[in-house]
Amino acid sequence: MKDIINIQSEDRDIIESFINGNKNAFNFIILKYRERIYWLVRKFVLNHDDADDVTQEVFIKLYKSIGDFRGEAALFTYIYKIAVNYSLNHIKKNKVQFNTQKDMDSEAFKIKSNDLNFDEIYDKNINAKIIQTAIQKLPEQQRAVFTLRFYESLPYDEIAVILDTSVGGLKANYFHAFKKIQSYLLEQKENLN
C-alpha cells in the first residue's frame, strides 16, 4: 500500500512538472511505462507491428490529454484505459479477429519450453496458432477482461475502472472467455484427429 502511494505521488510530481512546462518530464513517463504498455497492447493485437503503432498512439494521446488527468485514479490506470481503448479500436478498425492469417504468419506466440523434440515443437506450433485464433475470436469485452485479468493480473475493481463498467459482470465475462477458448481448442483438436 505504501509503495502504491509512493508511486502515485511520484507520478503526480512528474505530471505537475510536465504541466509547469518541463517537456522532459513526459519522457520519464514514457520510460517508466513503455514496456508495460507495449505488452498490454501486444496481448490485445498480438502482432508486433500493430502493437508498435498502437503503443506510440497511446503515448501521443497521453501527451495531448495529460492536462485532463485529475489524479482520481493512478496514472497507470489512466494510461491502461487509453491503451485498452486504442487496442480495441485498432482491432475493430482492422478487423483483426477475422483476419487471422496476418498474425499467424507473424508468429505472435512462441512455446515457453525449449526442451522439446521436433514433433512436439510442430504440435506446439500448431497449438500456438490455434490459441492465437481462439483469443482473437473472443468478443471485445471478454477479450479485454481476459487480457487484463489473465495476463496482467489486475484486480476486478481496477478492470472495472479501465473498462468503465461495474465489477458485477466481470467475473462472468472472464469465465465465459475461458469457456470459449476451451471450446475452440476442443473443436480444433477434433478436426486434427
Binding site: 507495449y38 503503443t55 503515448f59 501527451y63 497449438n127 485479468r149 489473465f150 467475473k171 472472464y174 475461458f178
Partner: protein
Amino acid sequence: MEKKFIKEEFLENLPDYINHSIDDDILRKEIQTEIETNPDFKKEFELLKSTLNTINNFELSKPPENYFNSLLPRINEKIYNKPERFGFLKNLSVLWKLAVPVVTIIVFFISYKTFFENNEYTNRLNKNSIVLNNDTQISNKSNDTVFGNPEEKKSLLSENFESEYAINPDKTIGTNTTENKSNSYNKKNSNSTNITNISENIPDEELFYSTDDDDAYEQDFDKLSSEEQNNIISKIKNSNL
C-alpha cells in the same frame, strides 16, 4: 456470520481458483469442497485447468532487439515534429473565434452610425427645408421687388436711399454696411417680418454670405441713366447731408 455462495459464483470464480488468485478464504474453501463432492463440477474444473495450462505454455514472441530504446525518440518525433493533420482548420477555427466578435462590433458600429447619421441628416433636411422655404420667400420677394421689374427696382433703390438716410443720416453711399442695407430693405419690404424671423433663426453668415450684394447695388446705380443718378444725388444734396 458465514457467507453463502450460489453455484454460479463457484463457476465464475473457477479461473481465479485455478490461478490461485482468490483472496476470500471462505470462497476458496467452498470451491474446494464443491470439487471434491460434485463430479460434474470436478469435470468442469479439470477441463478448465487443462485449457489454462495450454494457454500458459505459450508466450508472445519478443519484439526486435533495441525496440524499447528506439521507442522514446520515435514517440518524441511524432509528438514534436509531426505536422498536425488539418492544422489549417485549427487556425481557421481560432480565426473564426476572433472574427465573430470583431465583425459583430463592426456591424453594430456601422448600424449605429448609419442610424444616427440618417437621423441627423433628416433633422438637417427638415431644418434646411425651413430655411429653404424662407430663402425662397426672400428670393421670390427679391425677384419681385428688387430685381424683378426694373421700374420698381429703380424706385425701390431711390426709396432705399431716402429711408436709409432718414434712419442713419451719418451714412454715405460708399460706407453702407450689409446690416444697414438689410435693415433698410426690411423696412421697405412687405414681408419684413418673415425675413426678421429668418434672420433670427439663421446665422448672419448664412443669410448674407457674400458681399456681392454691395456690388449689385452699385452696379444697379451705375445702370441708371445719368438723369436718374443726378436726381438721386440732388435728393441727397437737398437733404443737407
